[in-house]
């Protein structure tokens, strides 16, 4: 008799109490803000004039596409999010939103963001946005993340694409400059996330995610961070001597690149105790500032170029 009663209870539909804030959390707002900023730079440095309404539409679609990727990522990773301190308060592990709800939400946003960008702006940009979402969700989240320690190296391409999508939205074509922005973010991703993984090592190990410190150990990760930082600083500096970006960018890139390199050397040298932890936290925090400052300089250069003729 009791079995019948239990079955009757199981058949009762689940009524959601999820609030709008829970759905906003699914969009990964902090990641989205970086996507919006880098896409804005890609749009602003693109040659020619873009109507403000089309520019707004492009950035909105890219932002919503990034949010869709975040929601689909959380829908797939509900099991491991529940095991990690950093992610245990996300809406799915907390039971606020179910996996099917998050999946439908993510798919709906992905569909509307791609279609709107394609219809209102251009289909090259729409297709590239669709590819970015596909790459983040299918290639990185489903394919790479639980399989290889190179997950964030290859998966970093998804995070590096938004300025390229924005450039294509503005011009309808590709060029060297957005690819340079792509390379900067691409090579920035490994030192940034491996620094995070170093001080969240226990989290990733508990969840069984094969991040580099879990698989190869902290020392090998420190070496990889240093090597990738050297490449990053060179790649980020190159556009100035190559003539793509101005001197202001070159100087900022050089100064902040030296800071980034010094912090990466610090991480490599200090391997135990509180100094090691402090070094990795500093590198992680500075890497965000580094990327933000590089892109902000590009934005400022465009603003100054636009203002100078009116001043004279």
């Amino acid at each position: 008799m009791s079995v019948v009663d239990h079955n009757a209870l199981d058949l009762a539909p689940r009524i959601s109490e999820a609030e709008v804030a829970d759905y906003i959390a699914l969009l990964k707002p902090r990641v989205m803000s970086l996507v919006i900023f880098t896409a804005l730079v890609g749009l602003v440095i693109a040659p020619g004039h873009v109507h403000p309404v089309l520019a707004f539409t492009s950035i909105l679609c890219i932002a919503v596409g990034a949010g869709a990727s975040g929601a689909l990522n959380m829908a797939y990773e509900g099991d491991i999010d529940a095991l990690m301190t950093r992610t245990v308060n996300r809406p799915i592990p907390r039971g606020r939103i179910t996996v099917p709800e998050a999946t439908v939400f993510g798919m709906t946003l992905a569909f509307f963001s791609v279609m709107t960008l394609g219809i209102l702006v251009n289909w090259y940009a729409g297709a590239l946005l669709a590819f970015t979402i596909f790459f983040y969700v299918v290639v990185y989240t489903i394919g790479l993340k639980r399989w290889t320690a190179q997950n964030i190296v290859i998966g970093g391409a998804a995070g590096a694409l938004p300025p390229v999508v924005a450039w294509v939205a503005a011009t309808g074509s590709l060029s060297i400059e957005p690819l340079l922005l792509f390379l900067i973010i691409f090579f920035w991703t490994p030192p940034h996330f491996w620094a995070l993984a170093l001080f969240r090592n226990d989290d990733y190990a508990r969840a069984g995610v094969p991040m580099l410190p879990v698989v190869a150990g902290p020392d090998a990760t420190r070496l990889q961070i240093l090597l990738y930082t050297i490449v990053l600083v060179a790649v980020a500096f190159a556009p100035w001597p190559l003539g793509y970006f101005d001197a202001a960018y070159g100087i900022v890139s050089l100064v902040l690149g030296a800071g980034m390199l010094a912090l990466a050397v610090n991480v490599y040298r200090h391997r135990t105790g509180s100094r090691a932890l402090r070094a990795t936290r500093k590198l992680f925090a500075f890497s965000i500032l580094y990327l933000f400052a590089l892109f902000a300089t590009l934005l400022l250069e465009v603003v100054v170029h636009a203002l100078v003729p009116s001043i004279w």
Binding site: I15, S16, A18, E19, Y23, F112, T116
Partner: protein
């Protein structure tokens, strides 16, 4: 008809009603933004909105 009779089926709690109302408003706002966006771009592009090079 007995007006005091309890309704059959599922009765939402206050929390469920509140969150559902919130979500409905958010969906309405999102659809409103979409409509305004399509209208604005149509005005901006003019007849060019029909030109769809691939």
């Amino acid at each position: 008809m007995d007006d005091n009779r309890k309704p059959d089926g599922i009765v939402l709690t206050e929390a469920q009603k509140k969150s559902r109302r919130q979500r409905s408003i958010a969906i309405a706002l999102a659809l409103g933004v979409l409509v305004v966006l399509f209208f604005a771009v149509t005005i901006v592009k003019g007849p060019g909105v029909l030109v769809r090079p691939m």
